[in-house]
Symmetry: C2
Subunit: 150 residues, 2 copies
Amino acid sequence: MPRPLPSQGLAIGDLAARTGLAVSAIRFYETHGILAPVRNAGGHRRYARSDIRRLSFAMAAQKLGLPLAEIAGHLKDLPPDRAISQADWTRISRDLRAGIDARIAALTRLRDKLDGCIGCGCLSLDRCALYNPDDARADEGPGPVLLERD
Amino acid sequence: MPRPLPSQGLAIGDLAARTGLAVSAIRFYETHGILAPVRNAGGHRRYARSDIRRLSFAMAAQKLGLPLAEIAGHLKDLPPDRAISQADWTRISRDLRAGIDARIAALTRLRDKLDGCIGCGCLSLDRCALYNPDDARADEGPGPVLLERD
DNA sequence: CCTTGATCTGAAGTGCGCTTGAGAAATTAC
DNA sequence: GTAATTTCTCAAGCGCACTTCAGATCAAGG
């Protein structure tokens, strides 16, 4: 049972166990500025307790659709030794809510267009509402957004 | 002005001009089973008019969030020489609508959870509703789903 | 002390949807 | 007939979020 003294900090495996993340993911996040652990004499990473919260924040923000670069942007404004406070979270989460609302609105517009298209079947590049650019952003993104079929 | 006889079929550049797609994208789609053009004596691809419609369908389906593999799946059920009919489109688009509805519902649930979290700020891995697995699918996908900030 | 197990680094691989580039051959415009 | 344009193939690169692997070092339990 790994039970390091608090003074030594947490090992990466402990942090992985507590957050449910893979060790490799935590290291990856470090290269992207989410965390900045100190090293012990042997070169191993040692984490503060506040890092659990940084990762919690990152995981929550990812579920809300933020790319890692943005998450890192929010986190680098905070002192590395300080955990995310309630005030931080409230401030940030209000922004996120606006983003979700916009996505819902875009999807709803898309659905309405599709309703108009069912039974039409024209798919005309000139006339079909589906090609209208204003909804193009709704579903794009680096990769496909899977329809939930599970 | 490239104006090939209909008997020769369309060149890839013509198809690109008519659909707005890049030539490279059309070739890429071919490798993924969306199209299967014939070749002329010199080895150049020649497309039928119905291929414009196949690409239109693919573009519309992509806006609805389908990955290329699924689009190819729908298209390979149809004879290569036949264009997408209205009946095809109606059948398929009803499925797609259900998928969009599900995505909207998932995002709405996520938003409601976030509302419960604003002002709470706990981000507790045990208790926070944001970590509840049933919404995890809503935003995952190969890459991040950008919040629309444009 | 010694053996497990955890951790280290850096490079490469994955999946999706493409684009870019090189070098050659075909086609078209004049 | 020649020059300009298009097309050809194949390989590699990109962006995102990671994982996997190899080979070496470090830490901890008995």
